[in-house]
């Protein structure tokens, strides 16, 4: 089946304002193939325009799970040469290989390599390896302007580029891979050029974000994150989401439920009605992290090891559906793909604006969170 030949009765130049998001996880942590995720995202073909597609797969590299898997794109050989000398200097590289690809309908692919690495011990100097990786990723991504680390976690990987998601899946031979959680994105770029680095998902370390929408607070968010050492290099507003999660969860140790209240806080009229302790907490959160409030329309699916979170902006200007069938949790821009890959689901629902849906592998709280996600 050729996914790209989908009939568009509005002709190819008809503009749809949309992106497609799909996330699928096995709540028991069992790995599964690309078949369902790719079918689901392809079903929302018309929400993208062929200028970006991508996948994040968790549980991807069990044989190398103690190493950071760096996926790097190089726009030219010079950038590759310069970056690789930096990599050799700072990391012990256990595997250095081309990312396998095959013929597909994609445009101008860059040089794509992956490295399984660990930080050079003597260079760490007491620094947490994650911080070391983050600093080096930032450094590479700003140094040449032609080399981008687009995936840097352990036992996970991002594959993305310019093309429809189904073409990207074919290009990267995703049918060869298995994972317990797949995050997929079809892109309709509007405010940034459709280039390989700009495709979703965005990743830093263990954290991955796919995003539909346009963040109107981008200028504020970016300048706030810059104060914490993040450099936004990808020419897209989604990047700030990934960095915000990294800052709030990894560096500031906030629970995910709290982080969603930072990104999409309740309105003051709601906060004022809360009991004193909760009001105090919500007020302090908003006072402290007001510059990380994500304003404007968005739906995001965020993933990290063993966890998948769906969230919309607080007035839900972008769609999000959720569904459960057996051990699988589904998050999707539209409900139809859920029914496509999981006929007769146990249940489906539409989460309220600003209220997160959280799924966790092997965690009794999963269901509670799902229930609260539904009941609100």
């Amino acid at each position: 089946m050729s996914w790209t030949k989908t009939n568009n009765r509005y002709n190819e130049d008809k503009i749809f304002e949309a992106c497609s998001l799909f996330g699928m996880m096995n709540l028991k942590g069992e790995r599964f193939s690309s078949k369902d995720p790719v079918r689901a995202i392809a079903n929302m073909h018309d929400r993208g325009n062929g200028l970006g597609g991508g996948f994040a797969i968790y549980g991807l590299y069990p044989d190398y799970k103690e190493y950071y898997a760096l996926h790097v794109m190089y726009m030219d050989a010079d950038a590759k040469r310069r970056t690789e000398s930096l990599l050799k200097e700072n990391f012990d590289i256990h595997v250095d290989e081309e990312i396998p690809t095959e013929e597909a309908n994609v445009r101008n692919p860059p040089i794509l390599r992956r490295y399984f690495v660990e930080p050079r011990k003597r260079r760490l100097e007491g620094q947490h390896p994650d911080d070391y990786i983050r600093e080096n990723v930032m450094r590479i991504n700003t140094q040449t302007g032609k080399a981008f680390v687009f995936s840097s976690g352990k036992d996970m990987g991002v594959f993305k580029g310019v093309g429809f998601p189904e073409d990207i899946a074919q290009y990267f031979c995703l049918e060869e891979y298995r994972g317990y959680m797949w995050i997929c994105h079809g892109r309709f770029p509007t405010n940034t050029p459709g280039w390989w680095g700009g495709a979703h998902p965005f990743n830093i370390l263990d954290w991955t974000v796919v995003h539909n929408g346009e963040i109107s607070s981008y200028g504020t968010n970016r300048r706030c994150l810059e104060m914490y050492g993040y450099r936004c290099t990808m020419q897209t507003d989604t990047e700030v989401l990934a960095y915000a999660f990294d800052l709030l969860i990894r560096r500031h140790s906030l629970p995910i439920e709290v982080v969603t209240q930072v990104l999409a806080p309740p309105f003051w009229t709601e906060v004022d009605e809360e009991p004193p302790r909760r009001r105090h907490l919500l007020t302090a959160l908003r006072q402290t992290y007001s510059s990380l409030l994500m304003n404007g329309p968005f739906t995001i699916i965020v993933a990290h090891r063993g966890e998948m979170i769906g969230l919309t902006d607080r007035i839900k200007l972008r769609p999000l559906s959720a569904g459960v069938k057996g051990n699988f949790l589904y998050l999707s821009s539209e409900e139809a793909p859920i029914h496509l890959v999981a006929p007769n689901p146990d249940r489906t629902w539409r989460p309220c604006g600003g209220k997160p849906v959280v799924g966790r592998v092997e965690d009794q709280r999963v269901k509670e969170l799902l229930v609260s996600g539904m009941s609100r």
């Binding site: 109107s216 200028g219 504020t220 104060m227 006072q287 510059s291 409030l293 304003n295």
Partner: protein
């Protein structure tokens, strides 16, 4: 000595419309109108007219028009009418030319060369009539991060935040001192601030005890003269502000003439009736940044660390470095006052030539604090030249947390910016402490007019935010991507941190 100065304005009276009611004669505190009982007609002394429009508004038959004197000196780009007049004034008096209000020169206003963004297609605009639109703002130092604990499935806050003060709109009334203005002005400002949920700044002349009940909505100022500063005063306010400088006269002190110091002002300022109140140019205990730190902490000690302390400076060439020092000295709020900021009295040469525009100072201070990673440790209030809600929105997008307005507030109460505040005879009853004249300002009416202004601007801010697809004011703060410049050089764009329109 015969004065060579000609009248600046000419009073044009339509004698057919004039009913000889003498309202103009009563209203003009400068005695520019007089009634001649011999022929039963009203005449004018043009040389006394300041163009305040009090008579124009109060003439029941619209018989009066004030015109600029069309008899002008020979046209000359260098030797303007103003330049020639000022030299003649000084030749006749040997004194400094004094003026009131802010700089009136055209070459400083960047607001007019900055344009705002709006959502189209990819991002929906939000209708503030249908959707929540939040303006609530907290002023005060914010921590770098919050520490939380989870106890019994409940998230518990471990971090104690420094004191914060909440305003329901990011528009605050800037310092207008008691003595420069009357009790009625203070009462109207305090009541409007309290009713709308914002703040009023006392200025340097203390606070009349009758207004203590509005303390939660008052910033009490501590300036170089230390007038009216005592423990109750410090503790009654929501915040304390140390005034280092003022945009209208950076580096210059103040002087309240003794004739304005009546019994009530005497009691509030804690000085004898009829004495001149001098505010020294510097605070005589602040000759360095470490001295500032001592005063900040003296005030924090005096108020048991319950209130944010603001430090107000005039926007000057190295504001950014000074601001950084102020944050490190413990300031919770930085108030920046631009060159167009108003005053009751200032040497005209200082008003028009000293200091820099608020837009440039604000942009560089905000960026500097971010570069140093300390922007969250302080709130920035920008003032000195905010004329409209659009100016306020642009200031917030450049990096301010809130704006100070004083001239706009006075205009709302009746002021026409005639620039004669220093005479003490303000016909609108604002810049005066004369008991008879100040009665003209009815605090009920003035408070209502101020409330209306706050409401109108707040609505307009919500409309502009909604247009940009933003429903919380904090998402606009420092969001310079929503600004574009027109008619600016590359250097100006760089300092402002904004792109050229079309880019």
């Amino acid at each position: 000595m015969k004065s060579y100065l000609e009248p600046e304005y000419v009073v044009d009276r339509d004698d057919d419309r004039c009913t000889r009611c003498k309202a103009c004669v009563d209203q003009c505190t400068y005695e520019a109108h007089y009634y001649n009982p011999e022929d039963g007609r009203v005449y004018s002394r043009d040389e006394k007219c300041v163009n305040c429009h009090r008579c124009v508004v109060f003439c029941p038959t619209q018989a009066i028009t004030i015109r600029r004197n069309s008899s002008a000196y020979a046209a000359n780009y260098n030797w303007t009418q103003e330049a020639i007049r000022d030299v003649k004034k000084q030749a006749e008096t040997g004194g400094v030319v004094i003026t009131g209000m802010g700089c009136d020169k055209p070459h400083y206003t960047y607001w007019d060369r900055l344009l705002l963004n709006a959502s189209q297609v990819t991002n929906p605009s939000i209708d503030p009539l249908r959707e929540p639109m939040e303006l609530r703002t907290f002023l005060g130092a914010k921590p770098d991060r919050l520490e939380l604990d989870v106890e019994d499935e409940d998230v518990v806050l471990k971090t104690e935040l420094p004191p914060q003060v909440c305003v329901e709109t990011p528009i605050l009334f800037s310092a207008v001192s008691y003595g420069a203005t009357s009790f009625n002005v203070h009462e109207a400002l305090a009541r409007a601030a309290a009713e709308y949920g914002t703040l009023f700044n006392t200025g340097e002349g203390g606070l009349d005890w009758r207004l203590y009940k509005h303390g939660d909505h008052i910033i009490v100022q501590v300036a170089s003269g230390r007038f009216g500063v005592h423990p109750d005063y410090l503790n009654i306010g929501a915040a304390i502000e140390i005034k280092i400088g003022q945009g209208a006269k950076p580096g210059i002190g103040g002087h309240l003439p003794g004739e304005k110091v009546g019994p009530e002002i005497s009691r509030t300022r804690m000085i004898p009736v009829g004495t001149d109140a001098f505010s020294p140019a510097p605070q005589h205990d602040i000759y360095s940044i470490e001295d500032l730190r001592q005063l900040i902490y003296a005030l924090k000690e005096a108020t048991d660390y319950t209130k944010p302390v603001s430090v107000k400076i005039a926007a000057v060439h190295n504001s950014a470095a000074i601001a950084s020092g102020m944050v490190r000295a413990g300031a919770d709020i930085i108030a920046l006052d631009g060159v167009r900021g108003g005053t009751g009295a200032a040497p005209k040469v200082c008003r028009d030539n000293v200091g820099i525009p608020i837009e440039l100072a604000l942009a560089s201070v905000d960026q500097r604090l971010r570069d140093e990673g300390i922007r969250n440790k302080v709130s920035i209030i920008a003032g000195g030249g905010i004329r409209s809600s659009a100016d306020a929105v642009k200031a917030i997008a450049l990096g301010a947390d809130a704006v100070y307005i004083a001239t706009a507030a006075l205009v709302a109460m009746g002021c026409t910016v005639c620039q004669r505040c220093y005479t003490g005879k303000c016909p609108w009853g604002i810049a005066t402490t004369d008991p008879e004249i100040s009665k003209r300002l009815d605090p009920d009416v003035a408070a209502k007019r101020l409330m209306n202004l706050l409401q109108a601007w707040s609505w307009e801010i919500k409309e502009m935010m909604g247009g940009m697809g933003i429903n919380a004011i904090e998402s606009l703060r420092g969001n310079r991507l929503h600004l574009r410049g027109v008619g600016l050089t590359d250097t100006e764009l760089r300092v402002l941190g904004v792109k050229m329109a079309g880019e």
